[in-house]
Amino acid sequence: MATLQSLDIRRRSASTEAPPQVRQGSLEVAKLIDVSKCIGCKACQAACLAWNDLVEPVGTFEGSYDNPPDLTPTSWTVMKFTEYEKGDDLEWLIRKDGCMHCDDPGCLKACPAPGAIVQYTNGIVDFVSENCIGCGYCVKGCPFNVPRISKVDRKAYKCTLCVDRVAVGQAPACAKACPTQAIYFGSKDDMIDHAEKRIIDLKSRGFAKAGLYDPPGVGGTHVMYVLHHADQPSLYAGLPDDPRISPMVGFWKGVMKPISLAAIAFAGVFGFLHYVTKGPNEVSESDQRKGDDLAGRKGT
């Protein structure tokens, strides 16, 4: 694969070597998802599939408008619909789910594969599939339960914030498509300014607790939400009220790494050789189940 190194790397997973540190001045970008403007049309989902050449299989109707019902290795964003009864009134809360591009990314910190997860200086957190070993650690490390491991190639996938578009000065596909500007893209500062205006408007319409979701527990995010009920993020299909990186990630970094390096070196080498000789293409059912169990997933 050709490399178009138009973005500078701030951090790299499992790497002792620091990336070049001189060019750190690039604009921090953010995507602002204004839930109060979202009509749940799924244009973002369609645009994401189209731009990223993803082919999600046709599913079945499972009792709600959520389709596919959850993120998958080929659906990097999905709409989550919540019917919320507030006294006599009903609200249909529709949240676009996907990678939050945390400033302090749990996935990157948890990732043991060198360079499989990178964070660019503009704030985008991206998975470099070529380096991914499919271990599922990123899933554990993510406070938002976002990455998914493909059964086809046992690599982790998630929203790239259309890094290939942003790198050439374009907005992400979902943001561009969004019919009602419920998704807005720009510098993080501009997005925060815009959110403030939206919050004033929402408060004028009776949403006293309207606010911005930019959770400090993960250092803030490069995907933020405007919520009508910012005091209760979990109303929105379980958006974490106060997301933090799993304690397991810190544990791995602190205690596990030195012990395990010595203890299971052989296993590690074997695993790697298996990967390079057998290739990533096919995973047997039992391997998959095992992997899923190990990564703590119910299945994708």
Binding site: I39, C41, E56, V58, G63, L90, W92, P179, T180, R198
Partner: protein, 815 residues
């Protein structure tokens, strides 16, 4: 749309009722969110279901499907009772002051002149105005005379109290009154309301009158011709507006001219009743130009063969006895009266109500030609698909052709959007395989037919032999050449009547505007309202200058908006009688002392001074907007609530005339309507944002986003029937049975109608037995075959069903 997509941003109140704009037109709905965030606008949604539009609304009110007129007449009653009308506008710009004939009456659900045996109003003369000896309509400027339209309207609306609205519609009174207050806040020229509707109003036996109601409300509020106002039909297909303009409808000719009927035996008879003379002093009545448009059209169709002597080839056009609208065509097919049918990109198997009737009809044809880019149920109606299409191919004798067409990216030409903007598009690639464009297919039929008629003769070959077809490549006419013909051109020099040496229009030039047309055969134009789209200055539909000089959402150099590149219709009404804007905030088109000017092309004589007292509604012979429609509509001069044909209850207003007395019912379907004892649940059909009609079930991405047919039902009903979310449900009506998966939701809320609980279910329309989405039943299996009285649109939006838990369809059918 009377206004435009961009103009919605100028609104202060947006009423989404009779449609679900966020769901069906997301990118147009952007101008609603724009109005909300930049103009402080309030969005009001009235719908049986809490929809995607409701999800971002400031106020949502439920109503029972099919009761929109009761709701809207309730609004009119509120506005009149509380004097929340824009008085100066109403007085000067509507027919509120006109006097109606003394004989007019409305009693027990019927207007005067009804003939029960014919199920029609056979004498509508009492609905008319009183005229003086000069043929001018009489008026009473005080609007208070007992026979003034205003007085009659007040009396008619008085029955629709908030209590009656709640009883009929099931809308809680407090919610209804909140909606009324918001609507009333725009009755002043300072603020405007826009109405966005679609099939939720049209697909009823009372469809045309639903829209009438809103037109009346907007006239009472003074919102017609205003920026951010208007009555806005959000149309369906990318070019349904254009195809309607170009008259692919049973009784029309292009530009909303009318196909002659058999009572109009000569051209003179025909034209006599079309050229409406003004009926108020000083009015212009634009339709006085009818003959110019019609003659030019015949010249475009038949060239030199259309002469003054043969009434401009009057007999080349068919004269109809009865309209052949969609329902009539299907009914005639089912009765075995038709032999051949073309289905060009219209999947009639899923599009017409009562699918089994359509399928039976297709089976009685000798031949069927399906012209489509995709596989369709219509092309495969003869194929067995288990319980979804249980037929025996051997027993079906119809010969079927399936002709592959190219799609939009594979051809060039123009589409006309919902706000009347004609936009060119360019070709990017060839179509797959041997697919051909619609133009090439029609040209192929034409050249072969012409050759056969020239060689062998046959029934009245003249129109085919004389049809103009002088395109550079007759087998594949260039779209630009065709658009030039639609625009119109000059056949012979047109000279100044005052000075014959002065040539106004040269032979061979493109017509600059429809004003230039003549009635003597010197000009030709396919569709007068499109004139101006392709002038000597070039193809205006190709223009792509996105500038909006006034910031009012008017982009005059982007494409071409018919008529005359006007973006907001009736825009002269945005100023008062003296030509002064009603308010600085809503300043749009006004008189500057010498001419009309402003953000838009004035819908008015550009130099006609305000003191000439010409009304702003120049298409009407009275020059004003109509609160009473005189004798023009079939159902009566004022809208009235009638129950849907599958009636949930007896009409509380007049139980003896419960349903529309003039709805289009075919004899064969007289017994096909359901009663609430057997079918106690009200059903409605709708579109999903993830899908477009019946195409996108063949499109992978959309099938991923909504894979399968479901039925939406409230929690109360689901509990009563023991149905869990995601389980299979059988939905039956008097006409058939389908299965769908349950979508149990809080968004369909329990309502009380006339003292009893009313449960509503909703069914998307998009699925069938062909596609990449999950195969399933066609929703139109259970919808009623009955039409609106005025325009014959089927009643898809309100009918009766029952539901019960069931098992999945057989796996073989779903494979």
């Amino acid at each position: 749309m009377t206004n435009s997509w961009n103009d919605i941003k100028n609104a202060d109140v947006i009423l989404v009722m009779g449609g679900n704009a966020a769901e069906a037109h997301p990118c147009g709905f952007k101008w609603v969110t724009e109005a909300k965030s930049n103009n402080g606008a309030k969005l009001v949604v009235v719908d049986p279901r809490f929809t995607r539009s409701a999800a971002v609304a400031d106020l949502y009110a439920p109503l029972r499907p099919g009761t929109d007129i009761a709701f809207l007449m309730g609004v009119i009653n509120y506005l009149l009772k509380n004097d929340k009308i824009h008085r100066d506008y109403v007085k000067a710009f509507t027919n509120a002051s006109f006097l109606v004939k003394e004989g007019y009456k409305f009693e027990d659900g019927l207007f005067t002149g009804y003939d029960a045996a014919k199920r029609d109003y056979t004498n509508k003369s009492d609905w008319e105005y009183q005229f003086d000896e000069q043929g001018m309509a009489k008026v009473d400027d005080s609007m208070s005379s007992p026979n003034a339209v205003m007085s009659l309207l007040k009396a008619h609306a008085a029955r629709y109290t908030p209590e009656m609205v709640e009883r009929i519609c099931g809308t809680p009174k407090d919610k209804f009154l909140k909606v009324c207050e918001l609507i009333a806040s725009t009755a002043n020229g300072e603020r405007t309301m826009t109405s966005m509707y679609a099939l939720g109003w049209t697909q009823h036996t009372t469809g045309a009158q639903n829209i009438r109601c809103m037109a009346m409300i907007q006239l009472l509020l003074g919102n017609m011709g205003m920026p951010g106002g208007g009555v806005n039909a959000l149309r369906g297909h990318a070019n349904v507006q254009g195809i309607t303009d170009l008259a692919l409808l049973s009784t029309s000719t292009p530009g909303y001219l009318v196909l002659p009927n058999e009572r109009e035996t000569t051209f003179a008879d025909y034209i006599k009743s079309r050229a409406f003379k003004p009926i108020r002093p000083g009015q212009t009545s634009f339709w006085q130009n009818y003959q110019k448009f019609w003659v030019s059209q015949q010249k475009a169709f038949f060239g030199a063969a259309a002469t003054a002597d043969n009434g401009w080839a009057y007999d080349y056009l068919p004269k109809f006895a009865a309209p052949y609208d969609t329902l009539k065509i299907v009914d005639a097919m089912a009765a075995g009266e038709m032999n051949g049918l073309f289905c060009q990109g219209l999947n009639i198997m899923l599009a017409a109500p009562q699918k089994d009737k359509t399928r039976a009809g297709l089976g009685k044809l000798k031949w069927l030609v399906v012209v489509d880019p995709l596989e369709t149920e219509t092309a495969r109606f003869w194929e067995n698909h288990g319980e979804f299409n249980n037929v025996d191919p051997k027993s079906i004798q119809t010969e079927v052709f399936q002709l592959p067409t190219s799609v939009y990216v594979e051809e060039e030409g123009s589409f006309t959007n919902s706000s009347r903007v004609i936009q060119w598009h360019w070709k990017a690639a060839e179509g797959p395989g041997e697919s051909r464009s619609d133009i090439d297919i029609v040209a192929g039929l034409y050249s072969r037919l012409k050759a056969k008629y020239a060689k062998d003769g046959g029934a009245f070959p003249d129109p085919v032999l004389n049809l103009t077809w002088s395109y550079t490549n007759p087998a594949s006419p260039a779209p630009a050449e065709v658009l030039k013909e639609i625009n119109g051109y000059v056949l012979q020099n047109v000279t100044d009547p005052a000075d014959p040496t002065k040539v106004l229009l040269r032979a061979g030039q493109q017509l600059p505007s429809f004003v230039a047309m003549t009635a003597d055969g010197k000009t030709a134009a396919g569709c007068w309202i499109y004139t101006g789209v392709y002038t000597d200055a070039g193809n205006m539909s190709m223009r792509r200058d996105a500038s909006d000089p006034t910031g009012k959402g008017v982009h005059p150099n982007w494409g071409f908006s018919w008529p005359a590149n006007r973006r907001v219709l009736y825009n002269r009404a945005s100023s008062d009688v003296n030509g002064k804007p009603w308010s600085e905030r809503k300043k749009y088109v006004f008189w500057n002392g010498a001419r009309w000017t402003g953000a838009d092309v004035p819908d008015y004589g550009p130099t006609v001074a305000p003191d000439k007292s010409v009304g702003p509604f120049i298409m009407n012979p009275e020059g004003v907007g109509r609160l009473s429609t005189r004798a023009i509509m079939r159902e009566g001069p004022f809208p009235e609530h009638y129950e849907p044909m599958d009636a949930f209850l007896e009409n509380p207003l007049h139980p003896k005339v419960s349903v529309s007395p003039v709805a289009r019912i075919f004899a064969a379907d007289a017994k096909s309507f359901g009663k609430p004892d057997k079918f106690p649940i009200v059903a409605t059909t709708y579109r999903l944002t993830e899908h477009f009609h019946y195409w996108t079930k063949s499109v992978h991405g959309n099938s991923v986003l909504q894979p399968e047919l479901f039925v939406e039902m409230g929690e109360r009903l689901a509990k009563a029937k023991g149905i869990q979310n995601g389980e299979w449900v059988e939905i039956s009506s008097q006409r058939g049975t389908i299965k769908a998966k349950a979508c149990v939701t809080k968004r369909i809320r329990p309502i009380m109608v006339n003292g009893k609980p009313c449960d509503v279910i909703g069914l998307p329309i998009h699925y069938g037995f062909v596609g990449v989405a999950r195969k399933g039943y066609a929703t139109n299996t259970i919808t009623p075959f009955v039409g609106d009285a005025s325009v014959n649109t089927p009643e898809y939006k309100a009918f009766l069903v029952d539901v019960k838990k069931t098992s999945a369809p057989a796996a073989s059918a779903m494979a």
